[in-house]
Symmetry: C2
Subunit: 106 residues, 2 copies
Amino acid sequence: MRRDIFQAIADPTRRAILVLVAVQAMTPNAIAEHFDIKRQSISKHLRILSECDLLVPRQEGREIFYELKIDKMKEIDTWLDQFRKIMEESFKRLDDVLYTIKNKKP
Amino acid sequence: MRRDIFQAIADPTRRAILVLVAVQAMTPNAIAEHFDIKRQSISKHLRILSECDLLVPRQEGREIFYELKIDKMKEIDTWLDQFRKIMEESFKRLDDVLYTIKNKKP
DNA sequence: AAATTGTGAAGCCGTTCGGCTTCACATATA
DNA sequence: TATATGTGAAGCCGAACGGCTTCACAATTT
């Protein structure tokens, strides 16, 4: 089964859960109250998010609080870095071109 | 049909296509040569990426070059911003707590 | 005009996904 | 002990996905 962060955040419900939990760790029931979805379905999402290490469960008596692992979110940022670098290179090449044109002009 | 950037980048092949095209605009055939996948399947991915405005086709004679629209990638970055802000707030609150503890110590 | 090449669209098939319902188990409360 | 509550797991179903094959069309080349 495909299980990576990108597949995990592909679902809008899961993205909403992440935002919710980012503010404050919550139990499955508390999370479900914010959606028009049954608790069991939320649990499925929580399992996927946990398997991807985006969430980590913390037992407290008979309740389980799900907490965001912000470090894992950085992996997305790291992936975006590729494009920042590539674009940076492009602009640099463009600058070179412009520089060459400018210096050829006189 | 679900069609947003997050669903688009959920597929590893599509992520690879984006990286490839980021460096240099390419035709479907040229892209397909980098994968062990039929050209037609690549075309499907290109259609999805185009529908999400991550790529834009540029006709040149009978060839079509697909180009990255870097601006669209920024939407992912914008989404990540939520978490940066939330985390910032958390640290600020933590700082407040530490500051209070420190000042109560006299 | 005829043949070749680049591309997209349609349809098929097996797999995955997202929701639901039902059941099982562990913890807390009476 | 008996009951209520919080949670996860399994199974079902319809929809979507990712790959494939085949076909159709437009632009180029001969």
